[in-house]
């Protein structure tokens, strides 16, 4: 085993075993630890090439590092993003979904969707039921075919490949474990299908069992396992052949809340450990925010926005995204003044609200301000309020949720806003009751401007 460390230049031309542990700690704080560096550049010819994205720890910077390392045969080559473009052509993305549509009769399930998913990503398709996310996943797996558009995996059109010939694996919502086989039998199945020599199978099965923390459960039958254990068998079975991509269809939907949270953490760690690209489908926005590197929010067959979780939450690009991710006060109105970076909007039933934006807009345009409940401050009197946007209101309802309290505040013209106050706020002594007169306030940069 070779262990290469730091000094990106040192990677050039260095020979390396296929199962090496690579630690890349470059000068710009990028670091990647990959126990299983087999993200294969060309999965169809089984060349042991791979692409690994080096990502900076998020605590230092949110910026993605463009530096990549790639295995080519057994020789490790370091590529800057520019080199990569030249080396692999323009197809940098592992999976490219190009203008894909799928219609069922009059109903358009997937409508002109284009997404590029990169190697090593934890990518989530998020949306309400019927938004087309599962249809899209089934098309990637090959169980359904697009009516229009193309799906490219490492640059190759998948249209002519049936599911069994695609180097992607699906974890089904119902787990779909084979009831007549033991856990070992289930995990060995894809290896047998791939004509793995019989002598190598037990070792690989053990490895997969260890990956999903199920050592010692090999001889059990699926009906002897709990829901969480079945889930892990399904994941182990899908990962044992080191697929290029793992597709997960609401895999945690059947688990109870406590176990779901545990499994979320496990999924994040597992994905980091094996380094395989995950494409995850869910309707649960908190789950999507917790798990993903990037999320595509889908609605009525279309992609509304593709972004990192924090960007989606703080800077939604459409009303739907603002409303679907978390809770949001949507203030509709007309732009009355627009200077550089700041707009003032006359909100119906509230008054002029100031917000910052990078978007160009002009007076008279209709617009919406998306305002998260936790960004609103509530004070007993106007004198205490310091922020630019200040409005009087009456508390109509409140929900005490332990860690936070949600207040519904009604303005004189009966426009209702939702505000969220942390109960642990240092120095917070006042709790408001229904019918209390209060002042709401928020800074101009708290509201996110949506062009409508």
């Amino acid at each position: 085993m070779t262990c290469a460390e730091t000094g990106a230049a040192g990677f050039f031309g260095e020979r390396i075993a296929s199962s090496a542990v690579i630690t890349l700690g470059a000068s710009d704080n990028a670091s990647v630890t990959n126990k299983n560096p087999l993200l294969i550049v060309d999965p169809f010819q089984n060349k042991e090439g791979c692409l690994i994205r080096a990502q900076a720890p998020t605590s230092l910077s949110n910026r993605r590092h463009e530096m990549r390392i790639a295995f080519e045969g057994a020789t490790l080559v370091l590529l800057q993003s520019g080199d990569l473009q030249r080396e692999v052509g323009s197809a940098v993305a592992l999976l490219e979904i190009q203008n894909v549509s799928r219609r069922f009769g009059d109903f358009t399930a997937v409508d002109q969707v284009s997404i590029a998913i990169e190697a090593g990503e934890f990518f989530t398709l998020l949306g309400p039921s019927g938004c087309g996310k599962t249809t899209l996943l089934r098309m990637i797996a090959g169980f359904d075919l697009p009516d229009g558009g193309r799906i490219l995996l490492t640059g190759e059109d998948l249209a002519d490949r049936p599911p069994e010939q695609r180097p992607v694996r699906t974890v089904f919502q119902s787990y779909a474990l084979f009831p007549h086989m033991t856990v070992e039998g289930n995990i060995a199945f894809p290896l047998q299908m791939a004509k793995t020599p019989a002598a190598e199978i037990p070792g690989k099965v053990e490895e997969a069992l260890a990956d999903v923390r199920l050592l010692g459960f090999g001889k059990r039958y699926p009906h002897e396992l709990s829901g969480g254990q079945k889930q892990r068998v399904a994941i182990g079975r899908a990962l044992v052949t080191h697929p290029t991509m793992l597709l997960l269809d609401e895999p945690l939907a059947a688990l109870d809340a406590k176990l779901r949270e545990e499994m979320q953490i496990e999924l994040i760690n597992l994905q980091k450990e094996v380094g395989i690209t995950f494409v995850y489908v869910t309707h649960d926005q908190t789950e999507a925010l917790a798990l993903s590197h990037r999320i595509a929010v889908m609605n009525k067959g279309r992609v509304e926005q593709v972004d990192q979780p924090s960007k989606l939450y703080n800077f939604p690009s459409t009303r739907f995204v603002a409303d679907f991710i978390g809770t949001c006060n949507l203030l509709d109105g007309v732009v009355i003044a627009a200077e550089s970076g700041t707009v003032t909007i006359e909100v119906e039933g509230l008054g002029p609200v100031r917000a910052t934006t990078m978007l160009r807009t002009a007076a008279g345009a209709r617009a919406t301000i998306a305002l998260r409940p936790e960004k609103i401050r509530i004070e007993p009197t106007a004198a205490d309020a310091v922020c630019e946007n200040r409005f009087q209101g009456t508390i109509t309802d409140f929900l005490y949720l332990g860690d936070v309290t949600v207040y519904r505040v009604s303005t004189p013209s009966s426009n209702k806003l939702e505000a969220l106050l942390a109960n642990s706020n240092a120095g917070r002594t006042e709790f408001f009751e229904s019918r209390n007169q209060v002042t709401m306030s928020w800074p101009a940069d708290a509201g996110h401007f949506l062009d409508s």
């Binding site: 069994e164 009831p179 894809p190």
Partner: protein
């Protein structure tokens, strides 16, 4: 206390009538037959008196005859062979049919099931006689087959009164008994399992052989038992469609009771047949459990 005895009474009211029916019309005749197998045949048929000169006349003569005269063992083995062939052909024909029915839409499915059970609406013997006409020397089928044979320079063959006729009719008569349990099993299969197998790299044949077929084994065994056991004892089909040498164990039993009138020997043959059928079914069940891992895993597959 009263409620408890009421419950017990209710239970007896429910299971009493079928139990009484089975005792009177199944257990008692079976015991009488078992006893008859140890008795001596009467001079003019039937049974000689059980008590003669104050001595009870019970012997193993008829059993000795069965085990010493190899002709009966041969007929018996031939019957098992025919029943096995019937079961195999029924399985080969019923599996695609049951799959088709299980996969078709609700409306077509009901129609197809109706077609499967439609033959039961006409009399069993009439359906066998119908085969006499279909296979007869002047029927279109025989002319066609012999036409082809003449063309390749082969002598014409009779279709009727042959092992072929017996076997084809055995398969025809028993086919629904294989289709129905297979359909009942296949209809409950979870498509997600087959999808998962495909996703994990299995081609069409591997999906069938590794997933669908093992999960359908409970249906296969039920169908096999429903076909094999009646096929083993059948006598009407060889009587009507076969030659004398196509006689099966059922024909011999019928002959012993009605023509030779050797009741003890007929009883011996019947008992051997019953024991053999039970033994084969038991053995198949034991093999089935072994191949399915645990029995409950197969149960879950149907859920």
């Amino acid at each position: 206390m009263a409620a408890r005895s009421d419950g017990r009474l209710g239970k007896w009211l429910v299971i009493g009538p079928p139990l009484a029916y089975l005792l009177v019309f199944f257990a008692a005749p079976a015991l009488i037959m078992a006893l008859a197998s140890f008795r001596t045949p009467g001079e003019f048929g039937g049974l000689s008196p059980l008590l003669e000169n104050g001595k009870i006349d019970l012997n193993l003569d008829s059993y000795a005859r069965f085990f010493t005269d190899s002709i009966y063992a041969q007929i018996f083995l031939k019957s098992v062979w025919y029943a096995l062939l019937t079961t195999l052909f029924c399985l080969l024909l019923a599996y695609p049919l049951a799959t088709l029915i299980a996969k078709s839409g609700k409306r077509h499915r009901d129609l197809l099931l109706l077609l499967v059970i439609l033959p039961f609406w006409s009399n069993f013997l009439i359906r066998i006689y119908a085969w006499m006409i279909i296979l007869g020397p002047n029927a279109a089928l025989a002319r066609m087959v012999n036409g082809v044979l003449a063309w390749v320079g082969h002598e014409p063959v009779p279709l009727l009164f042959s092992s072929f006729a017996v076997l084809i009719c055995l398969v025809y008569v028993h086919l629904p008994f294989m289709v129905l349990p297979l359909y009942a099993n296949l209809e409950k299969h979870d498509q997600a399992l087959v999808d998962a197998a495909q996703d994990l790299g299995a081609n069409a044949w591997q999906r069938f052989w590794r997933i669908t077929f093992p999960l359908s084994l409970p249906g296969v065994y039920a169908g096999a038992a429903l076909v094999f056991i009646p096929a083993l004892g059948i006598f009407a089909i060889p009587d009507i469609l076969g030659e004398p040498e196509d006689s099966l164990i059922g024909n011999v039993i019928k002959q012993q009771f009605l023509e030779t009138r050797d009741w003890p020997f007929g009883s011996v043959l019947s008992i051997v047949l019953t024991v053999a059928a039970l033994a084969i079914a038991g053995f198949a069940g034991w093999v089935a459990r072994g191949s399915l891992g645990t029995p409950s895993s197969a149960g879950e597959a149907r859920a």
